[in-house]
Each structure stands twice: as structure tokens, then as C-alpha cells.
């Protein structure tokens, strides 16, 4: 890693922040949130959930209707974007088309009134950092999508911002490049110790890069947690289904133990790993990959009929109907095929099923 570019990473804190457009269009409703310094936090949710508005409020591109925003302990609520020490990588990259790569990267440095030598030094180490040496004089239109994205990243990190924001940075890249670039972003973040807030609607991307994920739904925060937390212990049907897909089934809770609960559906009785408050109605969330199918009948398992099966290369996708409703299951292609219309017995593998309040 380069010696020139350092970090001024700071934490971000939201206190009761709301953003209301017009009279009653609530984009973000009364959220509290803390992003610790030096971590990568993802805002995840379906479109229209308020994640981009939240990001833009950190940047200062939108001002909150109510509440306060702190960066590094300082109240920045009323400061416009220009006066905040925050940098952002835009979805469209927003590279200035009439400026060369070098000029684009130097732009923010010039605005902060730096000396010419320092600008040159930082610009060149920024380009080193993202592997763009030799492209200094190119115009953005003469670069590939991936290269343009690197310019956008370099332009932001040379400012050594307190917080670096990414607004769906991978959405304009092809599938193969996405994996590579997201790993690079993560490497850069951990290497420099940056505070990063990252917006995406792709749960796989969020699970792969984040220290913490903030799941948002309908202008509210649905759940905050580490990727493992969210996957194993979702606190709602929405989170369970949004993170990694889930079949939501009705069930009888037989007992709530210290760390395990006992659950029954029809005549199938089994244990799940998480515990929910006693006074809440609960439903069962089962991951499609955690369902085992067998052609042999089993009186202690669920039974159902294969309604539909599709072959997608590495695995089979089944839709199974039974008294419990409909289940979507995924099985490795190495296992024997259960043909459409055949009877199957269904069991749930140990990890990956959990109770959620309904």
C-alpha cells in the first residue's frame, strides 16, 4: 500500500433522522444508526426503501427534514456537501467527460487548495493504488467500464475523506467483473482502514463485503447485524426472505429452550437454533439449500409432491406442494433426480432454519 494516502476515518451517527419529500412522502423515517470508524457498512434493501436517500444525507446532497447527523462526533446536519469531509463514488461514476483521468483525480485536491507538488504526488499514488498507471492523459470515454470505476474510486480516496460512500458501484459492470471489483474495494478499505458506507440491492454483494449490514424496508431499518447474524438470526419474515431467500412456513412451537427451540410441522418434529421472545407468534424460515429430499417414504418427515423441477447446471430447483403449502428447494445435481409428480419426503438440515416473529 502506498505511503502517501492515509486515512482520517471517522464514525457516522444518525439520531432520529427523517427525510420527507413534499408533505407526506416519507423517504427515510426516524432512523438511528451508527457506523463505526474503519468499518464497511452496507445499506441493503429493495428499491425505494430509502437506502440511497440515507447515503445522500451522509454526503450532504440531501438535508434531513428532522434529526441530526454526526461525523467524527461533529454535528454536520446543516452543512452542504461541499463543506463535509466526505467523498462519494457514484453509480454512474460521474467522471467529468472533458477532463483527463489525471485532471479528474486532481479535481478535489485542487478544490481543497493544496499545493501543486502535493496534488501531483497524491494523484499519482492514487492512480498507483487502483492500478491506472499509464492512463493519466486518457479521457474517461477512452476507458473501459471497470477502468472508469477505478478512476471514480481513486478520485474519492485521494481526498482522505472521513467517510467514503459507494452508491451501487457495481451495477454498471458485467457479472464477472463485479466479483473482482468488490474484492478490490474491500481490500482497499481494509488496507487503508477507511470508513465506508456502501449501498446495494444485491444481498450476495452485501454479504460478501460488509462488516455490518443495515437492512432497510419501507423507509425504516429492518435489522442491523453482521452477515452471519442476518443469515442465521433474521428478526423478521422480510429480512429472512430478503437475505438469501427463505420458505416461510407455519409451525407449532413445542418448547423454547436456552439456545434451541423445538418445533413441529404436521408430524415432523425438529430443533432450530435460535430463540425468539415467548410472547410472539412465530413462523419458520427455511433456506432452500437446507432442505433434503428423499424418494423413500419416511413417517417422521414431511411428505409432498414434486410440482415442478428445473435443471440449472450445478443444481436442481424443485417446487414441492404438500399440506404445509409450497416449498422451494435446491439440491445438488450430483444427487438423484426426483421427477415431476413423484412423492418425496422432506427433512430440514441442521443449520439454516430459524424462527421468525410473524
Amino acid at each position: 500500500m502506498s505511503q502517501v494516502i492515509k486515512t482520517n476515518a471517522a464514525d457516522v451517527r444518525f439520531e432520529g433522522v427523517s427525510k420527507i419529500y413534499g408533505k407526506d412522502a416519507v423517504a427515510v423515517g426516524d432512523i438511528d444508526l451508527t457506523v463505526e470508524a474503519g468499518t464497511l457498512v452496507t445499506l441493503l434493501g429493495p428499491s425505494g426503501c430509502g437506502k440511497t436517500t440515507t447515503l445522500r444525507m451522509i454526503a450532504g446532497l440531501e438535508l434531513p427534514t428532522a434529526g441530526k447527523i454526526f461525523v467524527g462526533g461533529e454535528d454536520v446536519t446543516d452543512l452542504p456537501a461541499t463543506q463535509r469531509d466526505i467523498a462519494m463514488v457514484f453509480q454512474s461514476y460521474a467522471l467529468f467527460p472533458h477532463m483527463s483521468v489525471q485532471e479528474n483525480i486532481a479535481y478535489g485536491l485542487v478544490n481543497s487548495g493544496m499545493g501543486r507538488d502535493e496534488i501531483a504526488e497524491r494523484t499519482s499514488s492514487g492512480m498507483d493504488l487502483v492500478g491506472l498507471k499509464g492512463f493519466e492523459k486518457r479521457l474517461p470515454s477512452e476507458l473501459s467500464g471497470g477502468q472508469q470505476q477505478r478512476v471514480a474510486v481513486a478520485r474519492a480516496i485521494v481526498l482522505e475523506p472521513q467517510v467514503l460512500l459507494f452508491d451501487e458501484p457495481l451495477s454498471n459492470l458485467d457479472a464477472k467483473l463485479r466479483r473482482q471489483v468488490r474484492e478490490e474495494i474491500r481490500e482497499l478499505q481494509t488496507g487503508l482502514g477507511l470508513t465506508v458506507v456502501y449501498v446495494t440491492h444485491d444481498q450476495e454483494e452485501a454479504l460478501a463485503v460488509s462488516d455490518k449490514i443495515v437492512v432497510m424496508d419501507k423507509a425504516k431499518i429492518a435489522q442491523i447485524g453482521t452477515p452471519v447474524d442476518l443469515y442465521d438470526r433474521p428478526n423478521s419474515v422480510f429480512v429472512a426472505d430478503f437475505i438469501g431467500e427463505a420458505n416461510i412456513l407455519d409451525c407449532d412451537v413445542l418448547s423454547l429452550g436456552e439456545s434451541e427451540s423445538s418445533v413441529r410441522i404436521d408430524n415432523y418434529q425438529f430443533a432450530v437454533g435460535n430463540v425468539i421472545p415467548e410472547d410472539r407468534e412465530a413462523r419458520l424460515a427455511v433456506r432452500p439449500r437446507n432442505i433434503a429430499l428423499s424418494s423413500e417414504s419416511n413417517p417422521d418427515a414431511l411428505s409432498g409432491t414434486v410440482k415442478k423441477v428445473s435443471y440449472v447446471g450445478s443444481h436442481y430447483e424443485y417446487t414441492i406442494v404438500g399440506t404445509f403449502g409450497e416449498i422451494f428447494a435446491i439440491e445438488d445435481a450430483t444427487l438423484p433426480l426426483k421427477s415431476e409428480g413423484s412423492e418425496v419426503s422432506i427433512t430440514f438440515k441442521g443449520r439454516g432454519s430459524c424462527l421468525v416473529p410473524s
Binding site: 446543516d78 463543506q83 457514484f90 467527460p97 478544490n111 481526498l159
Partner: protein
Amino acid sequence: MKRDLQKAGIDSNLRLWLFVGVAGYLLLPWYGLEDFWTLGWVISFPLFSSDNPSGLFLISQGDSLWILPSLLTFLLSGFALRLPRANPSYSRLLMITGLSTVILVVTQGLSIGIRGWTTDWLGELFGPLNARQYGMGYGGLIFTVSALMIFCHGLASRPRKGADLFVTGAIGLVTAVVSVFVFFPIFIMLMSAFRTEDGGGSLLLFFQRLVEQKLWQVDCLVGAGPCGVAINSFLLAVSVGVITTVLGLCFALIIVRTGFRFNKILRALSVVPIITPPFVIGLAIILLFGLSGTVTTTVAEWLGLNPTRWVYGFTGVLIAQTLAFTPIAFLVLIGVVESVSPSLEEAAQTLRADRWTSFKTVTLPLIRPGLANAFLLGFIESMADFGNPLVLGGNLDVLSTEIFFAIVGAQYDQSGAAILATILLGFTLLAFYFQRFWLGKKSYVTVTGKGDSGIPTQLPKRVAIPAISIVSLWTVFTFVVYGMILYGSVVELWGVNNTLTFKHYITAFGLDWKDGIVWSGAAWDSFWTTMMISVTAAPFTAAVGLLTAYLLTRQKFFGQNAFEFGTMLSFAIPGTVIGVSYILAFNVPPIEITGTGLILVISFIFRNMPVGVRAGIASMTQIDKSLDESSATLGASTWATLRHVIMPLLKSATVAALVYSFVRAMTAISAVIFLVSAEYDMATSYIIGRVENNDYGLAIAYSTTLIVVMLLAILLLQFLVGRTKIGRRHAELESI
């Protein structure tokens, strides 16, 4: 560190305006002077003299004490420097003091004129006033602008609004100048329409004169004599609007949708009439169809009849205006036709529509807003056109010429002119209103920013064949017309003596050599005046227009719709109306600029500003908003973003606005004819003067020279400003 700097910047802005305002009050002459705009007074800079007194000097002498309160409110705003910026009183104090200063200056300026009180009731209220005051000078101007900026500063500092200092200031400034130079004169003109001869006001008389039969009779429709002036103008404008729209559409369709082999010529040809002063076409029509015109005499000889003045009147004006304004319709429509996404018609064809059906059901409805726009433009241009009816009108009276004769004629009937101008304005505003609220609400935007791989569909035959025939005819006719102009400028005396000669050019643009160049030609004076005024007006027009476009597309603020409407309104105001309203409003204090070059410059700026606004809006919507945002997150102020990101990407819009305002200033006549003075005569009004003396040769030679000069200027401008370099994409576009 970055943040502290910005905070300091905010207060230094306030200090700056306080300083500028006080300096204006202390040092610069409060009132305008004879040689005011030539800056002659600077040489004998009299800080404290009775010749060019500053505001403070006036007060110290006990003169013009009515300007004292404004100074006091202005100074009050200085107390804001002692308040913290987050304190709500900070912004409140600045808003109140700034606004009251502006109101005080404006009120005293409007109530006290050259002869004391401007209205009787003020005299009755305060007693007679022996003092008088003249038009506002640099001191008053700078002081008022500073007060306005302090008000805007207050607006921008309201807590929790996130307003930007630069943006608020710009909005305040644009609103102020548009109010002063568009709304104020129109208001004054409306007022004087109510004025009776003895100086009183009468609503009854106004309505009587408004509905006079002379204006509204429709006898010509039933063949029972002449129609009223208003009816003539209306019929002419509707006909011109319809014909130019149809012709413009034919042009646009042929160029975009057919492989017609003369497409390049058509495009080039369509530009020529734009750089032609509109009445020049009228002159060419006279050369062709007038009493001694080539066609008239030939046909008369052939049929054995006496040549007549048949072309003078409705027919002639219609032909001339159609030729002159078709290119405007074309320029509107080609943009619209090109923007219809080709894949839409392709989609229609895959849905079992043949070429004609898909054209009729998809393309035509999509370009309807364009058609309405083109019609509106033709309608307004025809209503406002002054030159062609004057040259070719014969017995046909239209509003624009009648207004002129009411003002310059023997009767000098100010309120009569104002009433006619009100009717003219009423017509164009109605058209504007219909276009805006009837069609404006439906959005037919088909440019999505997504790649479109469709290929423009060929025009169906039943459209292509008539279109090509009409356009070919038009083209041939245009060639003949311009041939006539060129030829007419080099013959001795048209129709009488056809010997070739350069004498008209020599009379107009002769040069002698007597200890240096002597500009002996008769046209040089007006030529250089025109150049100077057009060159001065162009950058201001472009700047105001593009700034307004920036505010409209990039910022959100309270009253934005009203702001947009106000700035686009001057588009619907015919030049004739502007001319009348300017002389009515600006020949008395507080703004006394009639007879100067400045009034011409200002009239051009506000008349042509809407085109700058439109060009700016069109290209700014192409620039993604994330560019502004990323510039802001990279620490650039709004002004820096505008300067380093937006402006460089707007080069072509800038060129368009510059070229357009330059050309319009060179060719304009309708407003100019009212505003020229002996000292500041413009080329067009000089030429019209020659035409009225039947000196066609000189008039045509001068016009030809103007056309060539404008062509050269356009090429030069394009070369100087250049194109924005954004790499590969541009090259690809060109190779298509």
C-alpha cells in the same frame, strides 16, 4: 481546515457587499449624467462636487434627502456581522434590511421625477415639491444591487434550508433584471393605454378604443371592404403559422427520414434566411413581383395586360413571411423529429402496422408538441414582423405598422399605440398560453439515455412524394430570391436601367485615403453602431440565458414555476411591443436611457434571452446531475462546479446562444425602429429608411453586406469557442 475556510467565506461575502454598497453611496454619482454611459465623467473624477454628486454629498448639502432612509436601513444590516450565523436573527435581519433598502430606493425613484412628484395625490399628501430628480446613476445602481445581494444573503443563510449563496444571489439578480426590463415596461405600457389626452385615466375610454370597429371589423371575409387591423394581423399570423409549420415539417422529415440526395444543401439553405434581415425577402419579392418586377412585367407583356401592384397587400406579406420564417419552424421540428426514437416505429411495424399507419399513429402524435411550438413561433414572428408589412403591405394595415405610425406619425398618440400594443400582446400571450397549458402538460420525451439501436424508418411514399415536391419548389424559389438580392445590388436601377455597377456598394461602403482611412460611405456609421451593439449584447444575452437555464434545470427553489414563466414570457412579447413599452418606460426617471446605445443593448438582451434559456436547458438536461453532485462532494462550490464542470460541457449551447443573439441583434427591426436615435442608428432602420425613399439599390447592397458579415462572424465564433473535447464518443457520432 476546509470547513473553516468556507465559514470565513460566508461572512466575507457579506462584508464585500456592505463595502461595495457604501462605496457606491459615498463615491459614485447617484444620478445619471449626460455622458454617463461613455464614462467620460471618470476622467474628471469629482469625489465631492456639485457636478456629479454622490449620494452622501447630496445629503450633506441637504439635497435629495429622500435617499437618506435607504442608507440608514442599509447600514443597519451591518449589525449582522456581530451575530453568529446559526442564529435565526442573522438571516432575518439581513432579509429585512436588504429588502427595505431596495423598496425605499425603488419607491422614492418612482414617486419623484423630473418635475417633482410623479402623481398628483402624492403632491396633495405631502405638499408641493420644488426639487427634482433624474435617472439613476452608477451610485444608485451599485447601492441598490448591493442591498439586493444582502437580502439574498439573508435568504441563503436561513438555517436548515441548505441554500447556496451563489444560487440565491443569481436567482435574486435574474428576477430583478427581468422585473425591471420585462415586466416594468409592459406594466407602464398598459397603464398608458388607460391614459386620456388631458393626462387623466379612463377605463371607459380604454374599452371604447379597445373594441373600436376600425380594429375588429371582418368585412374582408365577406368581400365587403377592408378588415380591421387586429383581424388582418390575426389572419396573417395564423396563415403564416400554418404554412411555415407544414413546410418546416416537410423539411425535417425529408432530412431525417429519406435518402434525398440534396439533403446537405437543404440543411445549409435553411440557415440562410435566419441571417437575413426579414424585410430583405420583402425587397426581393418587390424586385420579382412588384410593379416593375421581373415576373410581373414579363407575364403582363405576355398576356398583353398592364402590370399591376397585385403583390402589395396580404399576398405579398404572406409570401415574404413564409420564406422568412419557415427555417425557424424547420429548426424546431428537426430537433423533435430526430428525437422520436426509431425503435418506436420499428415496434409499431412488428405489431402489424404498415409504414403509413405507423407514421400516422406513432410519429405524428409524438411530434405534436413540436408542431404546436413551430406554429407558435411562426404566429408570433408574423405578428411582430414590422419590415415586411411596411415594405409590401400596400393598403394592408397590421398592428405592428399601425403602432409605429401612432408613435412616429403626426398625431403622436401614445395611448393609441399602447392600446394597439396591448392587443398585439394579448394575441401572442393567448397563443403562448394555449401552447403551454394545453400541450405542455403532456410529456412526449422519447430520448431516454438508453442506447437505441433502431434505424430511422423510411418515410412512407404518400408523405415523401408531396414533401419532396413542396420542398423542391421552395428551394428553387429561395435560390431565385437570393439571386435577385445579389443581382439587385449590382444593377443601376431595377427594371429601368439594368447596367451592372458597383455604385451602390461604393455609396454605402466607400473608403477614402486622406492621411489615413476616411470612412466616406454613407452606411459606415450605422454599420459600426450595429456591430458594436450586437457584439456587446451577445455575451450578456448568452450569460443571462445560460445562467437562467442552469437555475431552472439544476436547482430547486420556491417559486420556480413562476420564475420560469417570467423568463420565458419575453419570448411571447413581440418586438414591436417591447419597443413601445421601452420608450414609454425608460424616457423618464428612475431609469432614463432612451436615446442611448444602452437601451438597444438591453432590449436585445431581454428579447433574445429566452433562446439562450432554451438552448441551455436542452443541453443541460443532457448532462447527468451526478456530475454536479460528485463535484460538490469533491469540495467544489456551486460557482466552481458551474465554472469547471458545466460551462466546459456547454460549449455548443454557448455558441448557439452567442450566434443567435448576435444575428438577431444584427437583423432585428421591430423593436429597434422605436429605440434608434440620431446618434445610435442601426443598420436595419437605416435600410428601411432607404427603402422608404425608394432607394432599393443601396438598401439591397447594404443587406447583402450584412448577410456576408454575419456568415463570417458565425464561422469565426465557431472557430474561437470550439467544441468540448470529450473524446471518442464525439468522433463516433461524426462518422455516422
